[in-house]
Symmetry: C2
Amino acid sequence: MIRKKLVEQIQAKKSYLCVGLDTDISKIPLHLQSHPDAIFEFNKAIIDATKDLCVSYKINTAFYEAMGLKGWEAMEKTVAYIPTEHLKIADAKRGDIGNTSDQYARAFFETIPFDAITVAPYMGEDSIRPFLEYKDKWTIVLGLTSNKGANDFELQKILSADNNQSDFLYEKVLKTVAGWGSINNLMFVTGATQAAAFANIRHLIPEHFLLVPGVGAQGGSLKEVSQYGLNKEVGLLINASRAIIYASTKEDFAAAARNIAQEYQTEMASYLG
Amino acid sequence: MIRKKLVEQIQAKKSYLCVGLDTDISKIPLHLQSHPDAIFEFNKAIIDATKDLCVSYKINTAFYEAMGLKGWEAMEKTVAYIPTEHLKIADAKRGDIGNTSDQYARAFFETIPFDAITVAPYMGEDSIRPFLEYKDKWTIVLGLTSNKGANDFELQKILSADNNQSDFLYEKVLKTVAGWGSINNLMFVTGATQAAAFANIRHLIPEHFLLVPGVGAQGGSLKEVSQYGLNKEVGLLINASRAIIYASTKEDFAAAARNIAQEYQTEMASYLG
């Protein structure tokens, strides 16, 4: 999906919401757990209930891999079910040497036709290039993540070549990786729990789209992120997973998910003005 | 598999070789490509031909994911086929926030019963802890990788808290992560193409096992890595993938793979003395 189409979708729906399908068989409503195709049935109901309120779905591959073959099958079916106007993100955090990243790109851009994949930057340029080579696909590189562990490495100071100034590792990642792609094929993950850093992030990469997890269960503020993160072409995809899909654990789960998605959309519409 | 058993295997076979099953349908012998279970048949033949010469098999998950459901099935069957005395490594480079890493750990330690998984450190402690919580399993964290991209971030200098000295990012990773586990459940990936760094790596983590890719197709030297990397309990698993499994592209591929594995084993026996 090209950038222009993504921005149009956001403007039309007055929403930059991404719904995260972190579907865990032990957390879905009891009446569905014994269904032979439980994960897909749950996802289908969530998608039907939220698709007019969001512009993207993010599949957290870990939850599907944990179920083995059955999970992989549910992931394929879910991706096929998501309407084409939604940006389909594989939240896979992959990355390896070039010939291996080639295979990951094939897995998530061809074998399963996602529009975007999240990628870890640790191994550098040749681990990321193979994803960027796909036309009309998006590579979403980890910048500053929403978890406590962000302090361990991402928020360590890197010495510059002239030893005169220093950047946080995540800043070095944003600046370096931005040079490998364009605003049309590259986004960054920046956690909503890091709202204080958003002004600085926007200073470094004013035009890129940011994929922002951490609103909802992790406690990030939609208001703060929007205040500092929105740019002239919106530039934000804000993800909520657990807060939406597990809004109710009873038979009314889809309606409850819609209510929460509606709250986010209404708030987002107010920031889009 | 506990450390003691791994070391015993190495001493008994006079080998610290890991065979990497980066199995690519387009690269296996033509006569196998049309087999309904081609990937598994190829792996089975490679395992049969090399199992007395190596102590570990490493499955590069990307190659299996690229084939979708069929690939995932071949991965499960291959893991079930590998003899129990071999350390089974999922080369998956996973890592995400805690509740997601929980799911990856389940996927590769329970759903598919690997003994070990490779993990990316960028997201810090809570992304790695869930793997370390499994008893008798190994978490293998990326340290200094074998690819050119290692220069982009791994070999950037990190400022210490007192601003008086600096470490490379990979050194900071080795020192920090070493504190989260023990030599009994934690290994590090250090590329064979980085032989010059091995003396320093051994200085920082004298006792840990190192998983060393990059010998063979990537050009790393088995001799140099062994010279600087071996410790009193061996402490090395050296991986070769393409150099072994694609030694011949004809019907004699398994015998050819055995010949190359035998060469590595003979050289390793000489270093074990």
